[in-house]
């Protein structure tokens, strides 16, 4: 079985600034890969380059057995890359169910089937009791879960989570960690960008640490958190 995702030598420049500098990563089917690093490390840029939302200056992205390096984001989504957005942007004027319906239509062109699928996804993130509420009225924690339901409704092969834990209060954080773990146990490969160490350590089986656009460490959560370079990058040196 090939890797679910294999990115090699990804480089992204914004003008003269190298936001991501020759970074490679791979994700096993059913694995959880955590991407961490201080602010401005290039995590989200790398994430967006892999999912196709930011153009790469060089590098290759393979998704299962398909080279998607030059494909636009919607083709990568059709191939099975399901992503959330850091600044969650529900379609505010649509209801919660309709938001998920948009994604569900990708694989289920008929309204009835799509609605059924969308409702199932809402159940998975425990938002089904609010299916007819305008999405713009949801609070932050629920918007996050809605983002997740939208990503799940395209029936992805890999789930890309961009800081789904940020800004959640402790109980909501615990719930979200439990939810991501359940999704992983159900067989989804997951790549998550995260600021919150607790979540990364608990969930990931492999972690990549970025600082100033470069990969500075890689390994299991335990290996990475005991790495002096990582501690320096996060806490600074005296």
């Amino acid at each position: 079985m090939p890797d679910a995702l294999k990115a090699e030598g990804i480089t992204v420049r914004f003008g003269g600034v190298v936001a991501v500098d020759n970074v490679s990563l791979s994700l096993q089917p059913k694995g959880i890969l955590g991407l961490i690093g201080p602010n401005g490390a290039g995590k989200t840029t790398l994430f967006n380059a892999v999912t196709g939302f930011v153009p790469m200056d060089s590098g290759k992205v393979r998704f299962f057995d398909r080279d998607v390096s030059s494909e636009p984001p919607y083709k990568r989504a059709q191939a099975g890359m399901g992503r959330t957005f850091q600044t969650e942007r529900p379609f505010e004027e649509l209801t919660v169910l309709e938001n998920v319906l948009v994604s569900a239509f990708l694989k289920e062109p008929r309204r009835k089937d799509a609605e059924k699928l969308a409702m199932e996804m809402l159940k998975r993130v425990e938002l089904d009791d609010r299916y007819d509420q305008p999405a713009g009225d949801l609070n932050l924690a629920r918007r996050r879960r809605l983002e997740l339901a939208k990503a799940l409704a395209i029936q992805p092969r890999v789930l890309f989570l961009d800081e789904v834990m940020a800004g959640l209060n402790p109980p909501a954080l615990r719930e979200m960690i439990g939810l991501v773990r359940r999704l992983s146990q159900e067989g989804l490969a997951i790549l998550m960008v995260e600021h919150i160490m607790e979540a990364i350590i608990e969930l990931s089986d492999h972690v990549i640490v970025l600082a100033s656009g470069q990969k500075i460490a890689e390994g299991t959560p335990q290996e990475v958190t005991s790495n002096t370079q990582v501690i320096e990058a996060y806490l600074g040196t005296e």
Binding site: F53, Y74, Q78, R89, V102
Partner: protein
């Protein structure tokens, strides 16, 4: 869905009864129906896909001119020339969209004004194509089943079929996958792409459908005017009226454009007869009031409140 189909049936019955109640106001009736159809067609692009066009007069002009030139030069029946106008409008909007859909928001809107102005200048200056600035007079129409297509009554029923047909189309779209792709693209192109939707393709489809339907109404309008002048038919004012009808009624709603058409056309008519010179002032004030107090349009605001009320009622009960 059922609600909307009943609404459509009510519209059809009201439309059939109207000539019996207001036999002397048939022209107003045709105008309302044409604007309802145009604004609904405009709204596929302007409301559902969120790309505000101020160039739709071009497609009205194409429809009207195909009917006129077809009849006078080639003795072509209007149903054939309208079919040709549909094809031309679709191809034109495809090229037009490819050229301008890289632009967003007000920049897209400005580009539609520019292209429509170019088309207007072509229509005025290319005499061999349109008869030029002096205009074209339709002097012949076929008489299918003995129906006189120059008669206002026949034109009224054609306009009714047009308006009901366009509205049936939008009712169907609103429930379909295409309808949700349109809404997603309008709300956020990145989120739409994350759902596997190609925004440019979706907007092109919306533009082509919108333009083709507008051209059909243009063909009926041509019969009604029977004398066509390019600086009226391709003019910005008509584009603005079509867009305003949709905006005031409520963009991206099924019934908004119809409500806008009834309100604006009948208000324009009443004010012109009863206030003489002040009519445009009052017309302007009316538009201002709606935009100030109902920014989503009349039906748009109604729908917003309805959705929230329905949710609140279900969540409590």
């Amino acid at each position: 869905m059922i609600r909307h189909l009943i609404g459509l049936l009510v519209l059809l019955v009201a439309g059939l009864v109207y000539p019996w109640i207001f036999p002397s106001a048939l022209t107003v009736g045709v105008t309302i129906l044409l604007f309802a159809g145009w604004a609904t067609a405009w709204d596929i692009l302007g409301g559902w896909a969120g790309q505000v066009s101020l160039g739709h007069a071009s497609f009205v002009g194409i429809g009207a001119y195909f009917v006129a030139i077809g009849a006078t030069e080639y003795a072509l029946a209007p149903w054939w020339s309208i079919l040709m106008a549909i094809a031309v409008a679709a191809l034109l909007s495809l090229a037009w969209g490819r050229l301008t859909f890289k632009l967003h928001g007000p920049y897209f809107t400005l580009s539609t004004i520019a292209i429509a102005e170019i088309l207007r200048l072509i229509a005025i200056n290319e005499d061999w194509l349109t008869g030029g600035a002096t205009g074209v007079f339709i002097d012949w129409m076929p008489t299918p089943f003995g129906i006189d297509l120059f008669a206002r009554e026949a034109q009224y029923y054609l306009a009714l079929v047009f308006a009901v047909g366009v509205m049936a189309t939008i009712i169907w779209i609103s429930r379909s996958r295409f309808g949700y792709q349109l809404r997603a693209v309008r709300e956020d192109e990145n989120s739409a792409m994350a759902a596997g939707i190609d925004p440019t393709r979706t907007k092109l489809k919306a533009f082509m459908l919108s333009a083709s339907l507008t051209a059909v109404g243009g063909g009926i309008y041509g019969m009604m005017l029977s004398f066509l002048e390019p600086h009226i038919l391709f003019y910005l004012l008509l584009s603005v009226q079509i867009a305003l009808t949709g905006i005031i009624g409520g963009r991206g709603t099924i019934w908004g454009p119809l409500v806008g058409a009834v309100l604006l056309v009948s208000a324009g008519e009443i004010f012109r007869t009863s206030f003489a010179e002040a009519n445009l002032l009052i017309y302007g004030i009316l538009i201002l009031l709606v935009i100030l107090f109902l920014p989503s349009g009349i039906i748009g605001e109604f729908n917003r409140r309805l959705t929230r009320r329905l949710y609140a009622r279900r969540a409590q009960g």
